[in-house]
């Protein structure tokens, strides 16, 4: 449209309208062929990029988005261990979209991957996709999150969120001196881990009648939301002594809000053991966090893949649970990227 109007629209250009029209026509011809050209260009690009048939076996690693250092660490750890054991890897992210995950599993099946290591996008939504992979003879190893079915995956290796939350809860009780009012920031409420963590916290904390839950809000695992919601919550609840958060990013957001309000003395405990949080514990900005051994779990999963592919069995039960560890200022220096150094 605009190309046809071009010379009418800009009067100062009329002197060149003839050559412009010629070039416009050429442009149109190019445009008509553009889809064809695009397809050819892309096809040649893919042809140049696609690898020769793999001589080595490939492990497909699929996790949620790498903008969370937790998932990046587990994907990196799995890929590194697979490389050491002589496997090729493909690393992809499903962004917590079950449909995208389904597509990625289809791709892994089509590329005849030897195994899939998956941090899944939904306990129920994942089952059908895994059945499909199993039917195609590709063993699946789940990390970090379980699914609501057994016998579909070869292994489900998760960190023990409930045990970790109890650890965090115990430390919180100790720091609070067993009394005072506190606020809680929940993770995304539709996420299983958010529920398990808050249950773990409360199974410990609620045993102490001196500890009073003044307010509870979801901040959707987000630092920005943790910050804004904490700013608002402390308006309604004065004299709060502690904050317990379902993950570290919310805890760090809450800490920033408390600092801005001059409430530096408030105790903040997080969960996950992200590098930022461990650094924050080290310098006293967070009082404690709970480390999920994501790197350990990812490496273990790849080792079980190797064992399964070479011997036909992992030698371990399908459901495996790895304990979390408490990080305090005293031991913060011992921890690295989601594992002990």
């Amino acid at each position: 449209m605009y190309a046809q109007f071009g010379y009418q629209r800009s009067p100062w250009r009329t002197h060149s309208c003839v050559p412009r029209r010629v070039s416009t026509r050429r442009l149109c011809a190019l445009r008509r062929r553009a889809p064809l050209l695009l397809v050819l260009a892309l096809a040649s690009l893919f042809a140049a990029c696609s690898p020769a048939p793999p001589a080595r076996k490939t492990i497909a690693i699929i996790t949620p988005s790498h903008d969370n250092p937790f998932f990046k660490a587990e994907a990196d750890a799995a890929a590194a261990r697979a490389g050491e054991l002589g496997y090729l890897t493909t690393v992809n992210s499903h962004d917590d979209d079950a449909h995208r995950q389904d597509e990625l599993i289809d791709v892994a099946v089509a590329n005849r991957a030897s195994a899939i290591v998956l941090d899944n996008a939904g306990a129920d939504a994942t089952v059908a996709a895994l059945r499909k992979a199993k039917a195609a003879g590709i063993p699946c190893f789940l990390i970090d999150r379980e699914i609501n079915a057994t016998g579909v995956a070869v292994a489900q290796i998760v960190s023990n969120n409930y045990q970790g939350a109890q650890l965090g809860g115990q430390e919180f009780v100790r720091l609070m001196g067993e009394k005072g009012s506190y606020l809680e920031l929940l993770g995304r409420e539709s996420d299983n881990n958010a529920q398990i963590r808050t249950r773990g916290f409360h199974d410990v904390i609620d045993r102490y009648p001196g500890l009073i839950l003044a307010g509870q809000q979801s901040a959707n695992w987000s630092q920005t939301e943790g910050f804004q919601k904490m700013e608002t919550m402390i308006q309604a609840h004065h004299g709060v002594k502690g904050v317990i958060a379902g993950n570290d990013t919310m805890a760090l957001g809450a800490r920033a809000a408390l600092e801005a309000a001059g409430l530096d003395k408030v105790i903040v405990v997080g969960f996950d053991g992200s590098p930022d949080a461990i650094a924050a514990v080290g310098r006293g900005a967070l009082e404690a966090t709970v480390l999920q051994p994501a790197s350990v779990i990812a490496r273990l999963a790849v080792e079980e893949v190797h064992k399964f592919l070479t011997t036909g069995a992992t030698g371990a039960p399908e459901k495996q649970s790895i304990d979390c560890e408490l990080v305090t200022p005293a031991n913060a220096a011992e921890f690295g990227l989601f594992g002990r150094k």
Partner: protein
């Protein structure tokens, strides 16, 4: 061209109504401390909404603002963490911080210009052009750190700078800086929209593009400018958020564009362009902010918060549609 007083007063009525309900539910709502925090939270959406208002007045839409928020924060975070580059030039601390701020704002402006050029020169539909830059800007933000957060934006002790966090945590006359920034943006934008030839041309382009063109308005230039303004506003928001948190996270700002559009529409600006006002957008952002914070104060569950927020947005626009309108 200017907002009818009636429209603005209806939106203000919504502010008073929603505020009244929360004041009744929670005694903490009407305290000055809470209202300050509330307006500080509103500032984020309001500044995005100001830029978005120009785009929507011109008949376009800008989906990329949330991603620009994230990208601008990452630019600032990256520069603070690699501040050595500037130290080599012997640049003093304050300039260092100002350079960081300028670079982040320039990034937003640049992405906005790309949006504007795509829409005005290459005739790409605004929805698609800005959706494309949304993905590119978000991708760039993630690439800038490999997905990681830049923590501790306070600058380094050896530089001795109070640095970026002042922008988020500082106060002037005991009112937080983000509120002043919002007021500054709102004042300039309101004057530009209502009292300058540029503003009148934005309305003209949105009202009837062909007519505007025939009466000598340089439509392409106007269209390019409104997206640049929107990108600039988004970058300012990115800086404020990074300053408040003292950290820059690449996924910051997801779905912010929808809140900004909601604020603009709640404020009585027509999605088809040519009608609306900056003042309306500020009031719209106030309504959304009151809801977000009031529901938290009242201790309402997150799931109900979604439902109530949606209901109020739809209701407000429906009520607006039912009113008789002078043209």
């Amino acid at each position: 061209m200017r907002a009818h007083f009636g429209e603005l007063s209806r939106a203000l009525l919504a502010v008073v109504l929603v505020g009244g309900i929360f004041a009744w539910i929670s005694p903490a709502f009407l305290t000055s401390a809470n209202l300050t925090i509330l307006v500080k939270h509103v500032a984020i959406n309001a500044i995005l909404g100001i830029g978005m208002t120009f785009v929507i007045l011109s008949g376009g839409i800008d989906l990329s603002v949330g991603a620009i928020v994230g990208l601008a924060g990452m630019v600032a975070g990256g520069l603070i963490h690699h501040g050595l580059v500037f130290r080599g030039w012997g640049v003093v601390v304050y300039q260092h911080t100002w350079l960081v701020v300028a670079a982040a704002l320039a990034t937003g402006l640049a992405v906005g210009l790309v949006n504007g050029l795509l829409v005005s020169r290459l005739s790409v539909a605004p929805f698609i052009a800005t959706l494309g830059t949304l993905y590119m800007a978000r991708g760039a933000a993630l690439l800038s750190s490999g997905g990681a957060t830049f923590p501790d934006l306070g600058g380094r002790p050896e530089l001795g700078n109070t640095g970026l966090p002042v922008l988020g945590a500082g106060t002037f006359a005991s009112i937080p800086l983000p509120i002043w920034i919002m007021l500054g943006f709102a004042l300039v934008a309101a004057v530009v929209a209502a009292r300058t030839p540029f503003g009148r041309r934005v309305y003209a382009v949105g009202g009837n593009e062909r007519a505007a063109e025939l009466s000598g308005v340089r439509v392409r230039g106007i269209k390019t400018a409104v997206y640049a303004i929107s990108g600039f506003c988004a970058a300012a928001v990115g800086l404020i958020i990074a300053a408040e948190l003292g950290a820059a996270h690449p996924a910051t700002g997801e779905t912010f564009e929808l809140n900004a559009i909601a604020a603009v529409v709640l404020g009585g600006t027509s999605l088809s362009g040519g009608r609306g006002s900056i003042g309306g957008t500020i009031v719209g952002a106030l309504v959304i902010g009151e809801l977000a914070d009031g529901l938290v104060l009242a201790g309402v569950s997150e799931f109900w918060q979604f439902v109530i927020r949606g209901l109020v947005i739809v209701l407000a626009v429906v009520v607006d549609q039912l009113q008789p309108r002078r043209s």
